[in-house]
Structure formats: structure tokens, C-alpha cells
Symmetry: C2
Subunit: 216 residues, 2 copies
DNA sequence: GTCTATACCGTGATAGAC
DNA sequence: GTCTATCACGGTATAGAC
């Protein structure tokens, strides 16, 4: 079924759910609010997708594969452009992060809501482990492998802890809480993606190098 | 009123609320669950503290000042031990982080729950800005000031973005989601605080140095 | 002053009729 | 696809016990 603007009711439900779950978390949202926001009947989500939990997961899944694809392509590209030694830490981190910046800068609010949802899930003791692992670990292991090659003295323990810090830095940035704006008296703005990623790349790369060492 | 074990019912309510809010967020917890967990009547939280929102804030406030005190002392100490140039980046970051490790290692589950709650609040678009700023910004500005001295070429924008990454890395570690355990096939454990902080300090310090430069 | 039992009223998830 | 009934649950006020 297509509405005049070409967006089906099912999509409208997913969009509304994405936005609301991102802001208020799973328990802070009711199917009624989602239905109202989407301009559809309360029971329609259940009809198209299933119960509340299945709706949540459907929202989470919807953009995950696309994101994995963008990042996989970026990594492949930077590996092809590098010599036999493989890409540098900076290049790998850049391949990991820039696709996210691109997604946030499309002007499609949906991506911003989605990434804020990822921030919620990643930091949730309830959802984080299972949901993030299921959808993102395969790709992340590819990045870790590339980093291992770029940092030949690194132990796995070092690499994975560093990844953890990267993940936290990144997802707090996704969340766009506005706190950094306030703390810095507007020297930084949560909504300034370019600044966020331009600083994050050297920060994270420097962090990896500092922990993992470069000399034997 | 003191129970046999010396913990008042009000404290028991705060403890239960702390644990449950940390795991499930504000909306994922009911006053009834808190009361059951604390072994008290449903209406008692209302009597001692107020409504649900006031209870949430009371939990958040309870340990905030103590935490600020620990960290302020650590910073003061490292400033006193340093020469006229002030402490190094590593020393400042260490003063910022070690008190948290100490709190987590006391064996008092309460601190672990509290810090997981901070992770929730810090990443929440609803709570993050207001609540974190109100209780922690004053102290953080002291740390930023020390970092500005240690990194004389840094702009404010650089310093605050770097702080943002530090904050994200730290709070994801607080959240103890167990994801890093799974991703790393147990090379890293969320519950291994020593490893978490021992790696985080050089990671963050390296990140600051890399972004803010050290040469004129 | 501290605490419990209970009742009120709104809201929510979901199933089944249409 | 939609409307509606059901039944459970949640926040909170109040009355009164100790």
C-alpha cells in the first residue's frame, strides 16, 4: 500500500518507531505513541511486523546491513589503494568512521535517529551484547584484522580494548545529547558531524598507536 | 529507622532503585519493582523521597558529590607533585580515571550499579545534557584547565571534542554490557576493571596528544 | 515520625470481531 | 486493514496502624 507521498504505512511505522526508540529507549515508548506519530491505527504495527519486541528489532535490522555494506566497501577500497603492508591505522579508522558521517550528513533524519538508536543499544546492559554482536561483529572482525596487520606488535587484548573505547566514543557522538555544547559553551556542537569525525579519527588512531606500540 | 543490618529502608529503596534504573533505564522500572526488590511497601518511596522522577534524581545525586571529591583530590595531589609546568597529560587522565577504578573495585556492588547508571544518563538524549552538566561540569572544567596547561597548543574545540571521546569510552566501560567479552572471545572481560583502566589511560592520553599536538 | 494497605484512575499490549 | 473490548499494570494519594 502506498500513501500519496510514496511511503507505505509499514515504513511510516518503522520511521516513527526509530525516532521514538532512539530518544526514549524501548520501555519509554508505547505502540500508541508510535501509531500516533505515524498516523496509523494502533493495531497496524502488530499486523505488519509483530509485537513490540519484534518491532524494535525490525527497526534495528533495517539499516544495519546497509551500514555494514558501506563500511565494508570503504575498507576494501582503502586496502586496494594500500601497498603490500596494508593501510595505516588512520586509513582504517577513516574507513570505519567516514561512512557514518556520510549517513548523518545525507539530511535524512532517519539515519540520525537510527544511529542514536545504536547508541542506546550499544550502551544497554540488556540489549548491547546480543544485538550489537549479532549484527555488527562480523564486519568489526574484518576491521580488527586490518588493524592487527597495521600494528604488528599489538596483542589481541590491546586491540579489543581499544576497539571498545572507539565504540564508546563513537556511540556517545551518535547520541547527540547536546551535553558537549553546554560544557564547551558552544565551542563544540553535537550536531557538527564534520568536527566530530575530523577530531575523532586522529584521536582514535593516536589512541591505538599509543596502546599498541609501533616498535618491536 | 534502622533495620538489623543497619541499613535504613530509605537507603534500601535507593539501592534497589540504583540497580534497577542502571539496568533498565527510567522507563523500564516501576516503583513496584523497586519496592519489591527493597522489601518495602510501594508507597514508601513516595513518603521518603517523592515521585518517581525525584527518586531517580536522588539516586543520581547520592554518589555524585563523593565521586567529585575523590577526583578533585586526585587532581590536586598530582598538581602538587608536579613542577611549575604542571602534570603531564597521562597524569591528569590518570587522576580522572583511577578514582573510578577504585570505586568499582571496592567490591561494593552499589558503585558498579551507580556507574552503569551514569552510563545510561550520559548517553540519554533526554537526561544527558541536563543531569550530567549539573553535577559534573564544574569538576570537569578543572580537568580541562589542567589539560590546557599540559597541551599549550590545543584549542578549546580540540580539548572539548577529546573530552567527549573520553567520556564515551569511559561510560561504555561503565555499562559492562559484556559485548567486548563476546567480540574478543574472552580475550577481554567487561568485569576486568584493571585491564579496562590500564589500557584506557594510554589510549586517551595518546588521543589527546595526537589531536592537540605538542609542538608549536 | 515511620510505615502499610488499599483504592483510584489512567494507560498499555494484545486478541478477536468486523 | 480497522475498531474495540479486555485485562493487567503503573503512579500516586489517602487513611490509618504502630
Amino acid at each position: 500500500m502506498q500513501a500519496k507521498n510514496g511511503i507505505s504505512k509499514k515504513e511510516r511505522i518503522l520511521d516513527a518507531a526509530e525516532q521514538l526508540f532512539a530518544r526514549h529507549g524501548y520501555d519509554g515508548v508505547t505502540l500508541r505513541k508510535i501509531a500516533t506519530e505515524a498516523g496509523v491505527d494502533v493495531a497496524l504495527a502488530n499486523y505488519h511486523i509483530g509485537n513490540k519486541r519484534e518491532l524494535f528489532e525490525a527497526v534495528f535490522v533495517r539499516r544495519a546491513e546497509l551500514l555494514n555494506q558501506y563500511r565494508a566497501e570503504a575498507l576494501t577500497l582503502c586496502e586496494e589503494n594500500a601497498g603490500a603492508d596494508g593501510p595505516t591505522v588512520e586509513q582504517i579508522i577513516e574507513a570505519f568512521l567516514r561512512p557514518l558521517e556520510m549517513a548523518q550528513e545525507t539530511g535524512d533524519d532517519g539515519w540520525q535517529h537510527y544511529l542514536a538508536l545504536v547508541a542506546y543499544v550499544n550502551n544497554s546492559p540488556v540489549w548491547g551484547k546480543e544485538l550489537m554482536s549479532r549484527h555488527f561483529d562480523k564486519l568489526i572482525k574484518r576491521f580488527i584484522k586490518a588493524l592487527r596487520k597495521a600494528l604488528p606488535n599489538a596483542t589481541d587484548k590491546q586491540l579489543f580494548w581499544c576497539y571498545n573505547y572507539l565504540s564508546g566514543a563513537l556511540t556517545l557522538t551518535f547520541a547527540q545529547t547536546g551535553r558537549i555544547d553546554k560544557l564547551s559553551r558552544n565551542a563544540c556542537k553535537s550536531s557538527d558531524f564534520q568536527a566530530a569525525y575530523n577530531h575523532m579519527i586522529p584521536f582514535v588512531a593516536g589512541g591505538f598507536r599509543s596502546v599498541c606500540g609501533e616498535q618491536g
